[in-house]
Symmetry: C2
Subunit: 248 residues, 2 copies
């Protein structure tokens, strides 16, 4: 989830919510329906595409968007390809479409499978009304590979050319209650810069401040964060705190 949230944010997307649900068809489909009801542009599901009984994402999808699960021939071809890559022509490992394997290639009607370059279960793409829904396997290597290959282009298409800039400061010697009004001051002069404060437990009061912006202009993005970091550093120093640059 951290990987996906960071990757989507870095592409300029606005991650509104991340939800973890039990392996329960009703819970999963209700979470998808809640996201559809919020008119989310893009839903990425992760996990639950494998052959075991606790893999319930496709059934939940089918229920949420009311499209029956059907054997998808392209997905089946991907699964066979994977088997060939793994076992070659070993006659003892002839591919059989067991019920466990069938489970991975029965997709909601009109869904498009996304090739899995490192594992068995293909990803799934489906457009439902105005929302793109993508399901990725939960194994991190497989999730990341399909994300890079098939999902990044879809997000780029949706988001367009957006530049993101960020930086972090470490503030010591001033409590969060004393830094809060300084942040408010900087946000008045740099209203597009988002400043998030993370209190850390240290010897004395310690805060990490994370500044970020997205803009259609790379220059505007970089300069705005730079200016806000300078102003914030000056204010903290003027009020007796110490500032350390963590990242630009």
């Amino acid at each position: 989830m951290c990987f996906l949230a960071k990757a989507v944010t870095d592409l300029g997307g606005n991650v509104t919510r991340a939800t973890t649900v039990r392996d329960d068809v009703d819970e999963i489909s209700s979470a998808i329906n809640e996201a559809l009801n919020r008119k989310t542009d893009f839903i990425i599901a992760c996990g639950g595409l494998g052959p075991t009984f606790d893999d319930k994402t496709l059934e939940a999808f089918s229920k949420a968007i009311d499209r029956p699960l059907e054997l998808n021939e392209v997905a089946l071809e991907y699964l066979k390809e994977r088997y060939r890559r793994r076992y070659g022509d070993n006659p003892r490992e002839k591919f059989e479409l067991t019920s466990s394997r069938l489970k991975m290639v029965r997709l909601p009607r009109s869904a498009t499978p996304l090739r899995n370059p490192v594992g068995s279960a293909p990803g799934v793409y489906v457009k439902h009304r105005e929302t793109v829904i993508v399901a990725l396997p939960g194994v991190p290597e497989e999730m990341q590979a399909i994300f890079e290959q098939s999902v990044v282009p879809l997000i780029r298409e949706l988001v367009g050319n957006i530049f993101r800039s960020e930086g972090s400061l470490k503030v010591t010697g001033l409590g969060e209650s004393k830094v809060a009004p300084l942040i408010d001051t900087v946000m008045l002069t740099s209203p597009n810069v988002y400043i998030k404060s993370h209190p850390r437990h240290g010897q004395g009061p310690t805060l990490e401040l994370h500044l970020s912006i997205v803009s259609e202009s790379e220059d505007v993005a970089k300069n705005s964060v730079k200016r806000a970091m300078e102003e914030l550093s000056r204010l903290v120093a003027d009020n007796g705190g110490e500032v350390e640059l963590m990242k630009t």
Copy 2:
């Protein structure tokens, strides 16, 4: 989130969903409302109770349950206590109720503050219709301290005496598609044991199988997991896989 999900599960609670939302009042209150609409027994929020502008949980709570924020005298007393513990009677650090501090002690009407033994912002308890809502600070040390002190007793009261038992097996040499029907077999004879399968990327096919159960009887819980682990190990070995006990 991992800490809370594990702690609640260990107490016998059934964690149905974990949601991460942006620092946005509308998003946070809509997430709370969705949980209330699902008739959740217990909502635990974490983070967003501090003095900075990105701390928006109390405002979102107030909106979701439609109770105005009001200065809570008990919460104010907790905050002053904390200040005295930290600065003693140092005349240069006389407590002032600045707007940043006031923000931490304005709670939804009829809410109960939960003493924070290691930080400033108190936790918040409120009962709304049939749902208990608790808000904890996001700093892990503070969240865990208030959880242990004030939330564990509330969960115990709700859940009663439930025993949980679990164990894990590592299976190598058999792919997930071949292990899936073996899991199905064991679940027929041990229907109350939940078996979750986690594929791992290794040299060959590697799976971690996690078995768990909750029961009102400690003996039933322990014996059921033990029996299911033995049967599963035998089936895996009979089918040419290797089994290693990870945890009992």
